[in-house]
């Protein structure tokens, strides 16, 4: 009688006897109900090639970059670099290039503000107002990516040219002085950054706003909320996931970009990317280039991790 004091359901939980057809086990998904050893190994075999590739060509290089940033700065590519754990490379690089660092984040930040002011209305209109025009408008948003990044950035050189209609117009309405120009100024670089990365902000925002139930907006209006209040209390909070993802997708490439600064600006507008490019490819000062590159990575990682704590990586990948 003592043996019966165990959990009462113990026997019933066991799988049905072997002579019954196992049809009910199919419910769980495409996998067959009894998983053999080969089955359990399968996901790892599927993962292995890509995971190995990413470890070898993404993770290991990052370690190598970290190592290179601590090489003896007195070495050169020809004679080889010695590992001296030269942590001084970091403060040295920052001291020499803090204006470029500041510009990277300043220009990317200014471009982000512009992109939010212009991209939010666009995403909202496509998601909530466009009706049957929606797909066409979405194609228009990604259309710039159909042509080459560098070629379309060069097109801004034509648009913002000193003899172009745009600068002429701005001079006529006295927004620019008679000798005022846009090309080769920070304005051109910020405009280029905004233009080039705007789709990355608009698309996730659109995805969030598209799920927004228009009845919620009507309800807010019925409860006497004005447009501004409806936006602040309903639209904005509900579009937060898209806003966070879009902000990151915009800011990360924009702060690391140096194509816009090179093509639309002058050395006075150079960002950190221009310096890293010349450190690795022109001056061949690898320790300094690696240190600057790593500082950018650290700054961006801090921003990303701050965001991720709120959303989680699975959410970001959606």
């Amino acid at each position: 009688m003592i043996g019966h004091t165990g959990p009462p359901g113990g026997r019933d939980d066991m799988s049905p006897p072997a002579h019954l057809p196992g049809g009910s086990g199919r419910r769980t998904g495409p996998q067959p109900p009894n998983r053999s050893g080969r089955q359990r190994l399968l996901p790892y075999l599927l993962l292995l090639p890509a995971a190995a590739w990413l470890v070898l060509f993404f993770a290991v290089p990052l370690v190598q970059l970290a190592a290179a940033s601590l090489y003896d700065p007195a070495g050169s590519l020809a004679t080889g670099y010695a590992m001296t754990w030269a942590f001084g490379n970091y403060p040295d690089a920052l001291a020499a290039y803090w204006p470029q660092f500041g510009r990277s984040f300043g220009y990317a930040g200014a471009a982000l503000v512009l992109a939010l002011l212009t991209g939010y209305p666009l995403a909202y209109v496509i998601a909530q107002k466009a009706g049957r025009w929606r797909n066409l408008l979405l194609v228009c948003v990604v259309a710039p990516m159909f042509t080459s990044f560098l070629v379309r950035t060069l097109a801004w050189k034509t648009i913002l040219s000193d003899n172009g209609w745009f600068v002429g117009l701005l001079r006529d309405v006295h927004l620019l002085g008679p000798d005022g120009r846009l090309l080769a100024t920070p304005v051109a670089v910020v405009l280029g950054l905004t233009y080039n990365f705007l789709p990355f902000l608009v698309l996730p925002l659109y995805a969030s706003l598209e799920r927004l139930d228009p009845r919620l907006l009507e309800a807010a209006g019925d409860l006497y909320a004005g447009p501004l209040r409806t936006f602040r209390r309903v639209t904005l909070p509900l579009s937060m996931p898209g806003l966070v993802a879009g902000t990151l997708l915009f800011f990360i490439p924009a702060s690391g970009d140096y194509i816009n600064a090179e093509l639309l600006g002058t050395p006075n507008e150079y960002m950190i990317g221009n310096v890293v490019d010349s450190a690795f490819l022109v001056r061949l000062d690898h320790p300094q280039g690696a240190a600057l590159s790593f500082l950018l990575m650290a700054a961006i990682l801090a921003v990303v991790l701050g965001h991720l704590r709120r959303t989680g990586p699975e959410e970001m990948l959606r």
Binding site: G23, R26, G29, P43, L46, P49, A50, A51, L54, F57, F58, V60, L62, Q64, L65, A67, A68, L77, T118, G119, P121, L122, V125, K129, N135, V139, A143, M145, F146, T147, S148, F149, L150, V151, R152, A155, K157, I159, Y195, L198, P199, G226, P227, I252, P253, S255, D257, Y258, L263, G273, F280, A290, S293, F294, L296, M297, I300, L301, P313, L317
Partner: protein, 264 residues
Amino acid sequence: MISRWLVDRWVTGVALLVLGYLLLPIAVVAALSFNRPSSRLSYDFAEFTLDNWRNPCATSDMCDAVLRSVQIGFIATVLATVLGTLMAFALARHRFRGRSAINVLIFLPMATPELVMGTSLLALFVSAGVPQGFWSIVVAHVTFCVSFVVVTVRARLAGMDSRLEEAAMDLYASEWQTFRRVTLPLALPGIVAAALLAFSLSFDDFIVTNFNAGTTVTFPMYVWGAAQRGIPPQVNVVGTAMFVLALLLVLATTLRGRRTRRTS
């Protein structure tokens, strides 16, 4: 109510202006492809001509660079699509330990600035003594394309009706037959979309390529170099042709999607 109407108009107006801002450079590229510039370093429209479209390869290095970009894009796309699709199947269809580590491994390359990815690969190739050129570019491109393939294919797999596969198994299809005849055809649009995305990412990449190219010149690198020496107008022919090709592709897939939806 008046204020709501005004706000609506205003928001729509802003949106249309922004669309104009996004589309204007494309129009300029198309216009410049018919331009005969007044000097090598001029970016202004001077005179209409069809010469650029008649002889797109007048500057032969440019056409070599385009061809090289296509070759690199093709190889990188095939590799990234195979690697990424396998991983997407594992993530969408199997439970296993270490799932969150794999998620981080996919997410991080997408969150890493291209500058960092490019320089870190350069550091690896230099320390390993591997000469840079065609194949180091391929390796770099596969690395940044894989994550995008995984995410795209996984989204397609997650949206698939798993009852179709169960039905196939109930009708005595073997696992392999189910995969070949049901799962793969259903997943194919996602895989094709991922491959197209990978190709466009590879073809258009400049920053990562620049650090890992050695003396090899891809199309974006050609444009970068030419921007200093003077841009041949044929560059805009390539830009316009790319745009038209991509647009036709999008149109073809939407029309096809519409037709299959109507027949089913």
